[in-house]
Subunit: 337 residues, 2 copies
């Protein structure tokens, strides 16, 4: 039973904590917060040992009546690996700390690839992180791209990808983010960073991405245009997606014509926090025109990377050498389709 520390119990951290707790070969030995907010209180209510990132703030937690188990420095001493879910600018500082103590660490997609020199996706490059000390689970968007592009590449090869990433303005909880009523090219330059980021887990793929922000909080949406290396029938693509876990073919015609309806679908699955760990693809959108595959998919930005974090733990701690076995184990524990 390996010991996992979750540094940063926010949007991703709290989900990774629950996902780790659901596995039988790893356990959460602690989670950390910087502020005594409702998430800190609920972490304690869930019986997670709570550690504080800034020791001077112990009094604030005392005043709020939130029990702490110690400091982050103490938490990571006892861990086999730290899942770092802290905000982007804090990560690099933490790495120094992890190295000094000699604990392994997994970063999230908010950090640059260069921080660890190694990026992770369960399907495309699990082996690269096997036994590694430091790696990084790519962002929600890059994870979403990898989930559907890797099986296509395996099926018939990819010549070139163009993708337009229509991104949610902010998460449901981010009340200070926009836009409220505008479309914002983000960046207003082409290509966006998503293409290069995909290459960190799918080496050599030729991809150009454009990205924009729109006034929605629920999910990102991707428009994929994939020139194929070899001819293939659309039914083969459908079979491939249907036989692959963590991607879902859903029918717009069954009342699933938008990201809002995908979220309603997740609610009906009975998932905690209404999470949709899988990448849903609109089945009707699949079409091959002149050797080019077109499709539209969505990404639940708060949760799709969570199973990948569990697999990354298993790879880096050498708990499982076969990625398919880790994926199956994670899926089973999390009821992933």
């Amino acid at each position: 039973m390996k010991s996992i520390a979750i540094n940063g119990y926010g949007t991703i951290g709290k989900r990774v904590a629950d996902a780790v707790s659901a596995q039988n070969d790893m356990k959460v030995i602690g989670v950390s917060k910087t502020k005594p907010d409702f998430e800190a209180r609920m972490a304690v209510n869930k019986d997670y040992d709570l550690y504080i990132a800034i020791p001077e703030r112990e009094k604030l937690f005392d005043q709020a009546g939130i029990e702490i188990a110690g400091t982050v420095d103490e938490m990571i001493q006892d861990a086999d690996i730290v899942v770092d879910c802290t905000p982007g600018n804090v990560g690099p500082e933490n790495l120094e700390k992890y190295k000094k103590i000699g604990v392994k660490a997994i970063y999230q997609g908010g950090e640059d690839h260069d921080l660890t020199g190694l990026s992770f996706n369960s399907f495309s490059n699990y082996d690269d992180s096997f036994g590694a000390d430091y790696s990084r689970v790519v962002s929600c968007n890059t994870t979403g791209l990898t989930r559907s592009l890797k099986p296509i590449d395996d099926l018939c090869g990819i010549k070139k990808v163009r993708a337009v990433m229509v991104r949610r303005g902010g998460d449901p909880v981010q009340v200070n983010k926009g836009p409220i009523n505008a479309i914002v090219p983000n960046p207003p330059t082409v290509p966006s960073h998503h293409g290069p980021d995909l290459k960190t887990v799918m080496d050599g793929v030729d991809i150009t991405t454009l990205a924009l922000l729109v006034p929605t909080t629920l999910m990102h949406q991707h428009n994929l245009m994939v020139e194929l290396e070899n001819d293939v029938a659309i039914d083969d693509v459908i079979d491939t997606f249907e036989n692959r876990s963590r991607v879902l073919l859903l029918n717009a015609s069954e009342g699933l014509s938008s990201t809002a309806e995908f979220m309603e679908y997740a609610k009906e699955l009975g998932r905690s926090r209404n999470d949709l760990f899988e990448i849903p693809i609109w089945k009707e959108s699949l079409n091959i025109v002149d050797g080019e595959l077109f499709y539209m998919q969505a990404v639940h930005q708060e949760s799709d990377v969570v199973p990948e974090n569990v697999d990354a733990i298993r790879a880096m701690l050498e708990l499982e050498s076969d990625n398919e076995k880790s994926i199956a184990k994670t899926n089973k524990a999390m009821n992933i389709l």
Copy 2:
């Protein structure tokens, strides 16, 4: 001085009425409404003769104290051409009426190309509608595509176009439209109708489009990927756009990073209704990668087709045989950049 009747004084109709009034070779002889609403009242305040589409409703206009000049049937008797801006399903019925009376008519992009068998854009196929009895100004989105693609085609030829059309959910006034918080592939199939529609005014262009709706009211946004026939430098593309009217190269870096800021720009131009008749292109987004031109543009769906309607009148009534002369005349009267 030609006599123009505007059948349907709504979002497009009221703008076309004002644009026609600004010209010196045509005049508005009447506008029509079905209901005695604020637009009807303000049309009369602006000194437009108001005609009613449904004679039985004369009483309702009387009760509202809105003076009418007669019925639509009477209005079109005196017209050289009718600009039909009625809702989509009414148009086909009206055509029978126009034919019976023997009056020319211009339709809007909400109607199918098949209704008139002829579609119009000022830059790409002005001559096709010269002297024609019935034509159709293509939709706001197709007009937007034509405005930027035609000059590229003229410059270096187009091999293939891919475009992802991120559409506003509804106009600012459409309080019953959605989505409020979702991304909606619309249609959820690929390709969308926009590609075929472009071909009605740019014959032979190879284009595939994907379209979706997002929660915004201000403008549509287009993501263009254009494989070029012949090599060209990005500066030549910039020069081409800068020398073409009705497209604007705007800098995100100058506080114009979103559709909302484009609308603010239109306000600063002092335009009536804050209209932006031009198609703004984010200058920073222009990039050529491997012989493919990428760029992002926006479309003010309420107004971009308005100058095209004026030019269509001029073509169909044989007021001007040279499209560039008509464009220049319309632009000058409307202060178009």
